[in-house]
Amino acid sequence: MSLQEPVRIHCVYGEKHVRHLEQVLLPALPAAVSAPIQVFCMNYNALSSARISYASNNHMMVADIPTPAMKRCGFAECHNALFRAAKPNESFIIVNPDTIPQPRSIDSLITRYRRSEIPVAIVEGRQWPFEHPKEFDPLSLETPWASGAFCLIDAEFYRKVGGMDETYFLYMEDVDLSWQAWLNGYTVLYEPSSAIVHFTGGHYYRRDLIPDEVRYSFRNFLIIARKFFGDAGEQTALNYLQEAGDQRLANRAIREYLDHFKDRISSQYVGMTHPCVKIVGLNCFHRTR
């Protein structure tokens, strides 16, 4: 990607994010990237009438892409549809709708991507103020997986693996995509000088509510374990789930997995190994820094 070529930024949002996008995130983008910008947004919920309305200018074009189906669509399904609409040549950025990109943050991702001499699939930015504590190599900047909250993705790689796996619906598509990168000979990097303000919900979880992240992660944990590690992975995941704090939720996840997902999971990666593709705990795929 040359700096003259527009940078494509993909963002999947919900109704509650519209004002933040229009008044905070989009106005912050010109300081984050020096090249022209093309933003492709999509409301995950086709049933909602809330859409992004933002005046494009010479430096930044904003397009709101229709949801691919008349329902609430999953994260991967929306991003794959955005990819088809945006048709990026070399790379694209994905960003969560509840973030504020910091000055030069996207330029830093692009610079890291272009500077690398080995094939890079994903370059992940740094989240602030609650940084993800997962490991990364301080010299090579390699990390086992990249969060989908803010990262650059190589377009050729994305096309080659068929985009994100829509089986998950919500959560864990980013770990899956990172593992596919490692197993296909690509690298996943963490760029600490590229920062985004991301007010993650994890610090606000309440005991009396089951957050989507927990709801889906239990089930998706079984899916990803089977997809990359086969029967042994499935058994490992089941063992971890038996130790989960909320057994009612764990049992539901197991039931859903067995009834609706187990037989649909591809086995193309079973038997392939890489040091970065690992399960170290319940929904934990990395060592802590």
Binding site: H20, A28, F169, A195, Y204
Partner: protein, 587 residues
């Protein structure tokens, strides 16, 4: 309009004997097997606009009918979306010194009233006295499920009202003496009903429900993730109770006031961006609007105007203007002021909740919110966050600790409270002249000694406070200016005759009943009873505990470590050991 649900004819006689005036207007529902049915009849089959439904074992004020008439008028005016009102219930925020979430305007076997004077929204109410807005309930087609018995009818009525966007309130005018505390055993049995849980799961997103009788954990089978995601029509009762209560009420305004001299523009930009994100996330019932107040308007960079209104203040050269800027900020046309330092930031995650709460609390409310220190190491030059940047969460300031500020130490950072603008406008003018530091503590204490102040506690993290090696007034070594401000602050506050009882709420040193010099044994009886080996053991235990706490998060204790070094220099190593042994007591 007055309905008494009575278990027998004898109970009717007894109720009539207790309420000779009100009984003439009462309709008695005698020996009915289901309270749910009674409520359905009252809502559906009567033509009255309002109904007061009470138990047969309550004592009501002699003036109850007049009080209720006045209350209805007040509710219709101030709470346009009200549906149900009671005299005790569960709140969605904390109230007062004890941070209570159960508000009681009644006397029953569990105790007496625990607050005074204000109408507040609730998640649910106790059924001993319930005022129903029957017209509004009827208009929305509200009906209770066909359950039997006398448990959960009040909770289910509240859930139905909230689900249909009608507010649940608690009002002091409905106070009563309730002769029964209810049966916990019967409640617990009813709480196991499968049908009840199925009903609750259809209505609520919550996995457990706070009630006056304790937590109820929902245990019916969960719908699948996909079903749940595609058909979301449940409510989060905690948040929805606030949201519904704020409906159709007049919008309120909170000015987010950032005082600055533009010394660090990257940090200021962060403060402004997050303040704007907060304002956007807060929704429409309360408008949060960022303001920058400065005595250096000529240094104001362009980006500031994109995020905030700028107020320029003329001050005398050479003075520390921080309290003067506050005085000028009190001229902003807003209901409340939220002072945020120019290196702080705001977390918008729960902005909507705060917007609802600001809208529904009394205008003289002093709101306390959670804040946290973050230890930052910032590289020089370029964007603020570079490869060398680091951030480590530090001390957490709990809003619920506000009453501890009455001890003389401040437990609430400036950005941890939202104050009525009127409070700042009416501060003793001498304070603006004489106090420089501790301006936050001064405002907090002035608010607390103001009669009528209502303390509201919102236990969510709303602000981050940057702590750096340099550039923070809280980390300056020379405390002379701090101490000078403190004495000026208490010189003014101690001479203030309003609410003179307030500072005595917190236990502080008192006169010993016996002089220590005369009777040392009585003075330190506990240590006298401990042998030397036991003392050594105790000392070793506390020393180990202190070291573990320090080792667990050393950065957090950097500030205290400096104090430890000072102690070592002045008082020797033994004093340092003693200091470590009391670490476990500290925050």
């Amino acid at each position: 309009m007055l309905h008494v649900v009575a278990r027998s004819a004898a109970a009717v006689t007894e109720w009539t004997r207790r309420h000779p005036t009100a009984s003439a207007s009462a309709r008695f529902h005698i020996d009915r097997p289901s309270y749910f049915d009674v409520l359905n009849e009252i809502i559906r089959d009567t033509t009255a606009d309002y109904a007061l439904v009470v138990h047969d074992d309550v004592f009501l004020s002699e003036r109850i009918l007049e009080d209720v008439a006045e209350l209805i008028s007040e509710l219709d005016s101030d709470w346009p979306a009200w549906g149900v009102c009671g005299n005790a219930g569960v709140l969605s925020f904390g109230l007062g010194c004890k941070n209570t979430k159960i508000l009681r305007y009644l006397r029953d076997p569990h105790g007496g009233p625990n607050y005074q004077g204000i109408v507040v929204p609730a998640q649910s109410i106790d059924g001993n006295v319930m005022l129903l807005n029957t017209r509004a309930l009827r208009d929305r087609g509200i009906g209770l499920p066909a359950f039997e018995g006398f448990q959960f009818y009040d909770l289910v009525l509240c859930i139905e009202a909230l689900y249909h966007d009608l507010a649940v309130l608690i009002a002091p005018r409905l106070t009563s003496v309730h002769l029964s505390g209810g049966s916990q055993e019967q409640f617990d049995k009813a709480a196991q009903s499968f049908r009840l849980h199925r009903y609750l799961l259809q209505r609520l997103a919550n996995a457990e429900l706070a009630t006056l009788n304790g937590l109820v954990k929902l245990s019916a089978e969960l719908p699948t993730s996909e079903q749940e995601f595609q058909h979301r029509d449940t409510i989060d009762i905690e948040l929805h109770a606030l949201q519904v209560a704020a409906r159709k009420r007049q919008k309120r305004q909170v000015a987010i006031v950032i005082r600055t001299q533009f010394r660090d523009q990257a940090l200021l930009r962060r403060a402004l961006e997050t303040a704007q994100a907060f304002a956007v996330a807060a929704g429409d019932v309360t408008e949060f609007k960022p303001f920058v107040v400065t005595d250096r308007p000529a240094d104001c960079p362009d980006f500031v105007h994109r995020h905030a209104s700028v107020i320029a203040v003329d001050t005398e050269p050479g003075i520390d203007s921080r309290f003067k800027l506050i005085q000028c900020a009190s001229g902003i046309d807003a209901d409340f002021l939220w002072f945020v330092d120019d290196d702080d930031w705001l977390f918008p995650n729960e902005a909507e909740r705060l917007g609802f709460i600001v809208n529904i609390v009394p205008p003289n409310a002093l709101l306390f919110i959670d804040t946290q220190w973050f230890h930052e190491r910032i590289g020089s030059g370029g964007p603020m966050i570079t490869g060398n940047y680091s951030i480590i969460p530090g001390r957490y300031f709990f809003a619920r600790d506000w009453a501890m500020s009455l001890s003389g130490d401040n437990y609430i950072p400036f950005c941890g409270m939202i104050v009525p603008t009127q409070l700042v406008r009416t501060l003793d003018p001498r304070l603006f002249e004489r106090v420089v530091y501790y301006e936050d503590f001064t405002i907090q204490l002035s608010g607390l000694i103001s009669p009528g102040t209502v303390q509201i506690v919102v236990e969510k993290l709303f602000s981050g406070i940057s702590v750096r090696e340099t550039g923070n007034s809280i980390t300056v070594q020379d405390r002379m200016r701090w101490d000078k401000s403190y004495v000026e602050m208490i010189a003014c506050l101690c001479s203030d005759p309003r609410n003179p009882n307030l500072f005595s709420l917190w236990p502080l040193p008192a006169i010993n009943p016996v002089s220590p010099a005369a009777q040392p044994a009585a003075w330190r009886p506990s240590m006298e009873a401990v042998s030397r080996p036991e003392r050594s053991l105790l000392l070793a235990y506390r020393l180990t505990l202190g070291l573990i706490i320090i080792a667990g998060n050393p950065r957090r204790w950097i500030g205290r470590a400096k104090r430890g070094l000072l102690i070592a220099r002045n008082d020797g190593m033994l004093s340092v050991l003693k200091w470590i042994t009391i670490f476990w007591r500290g925050k």
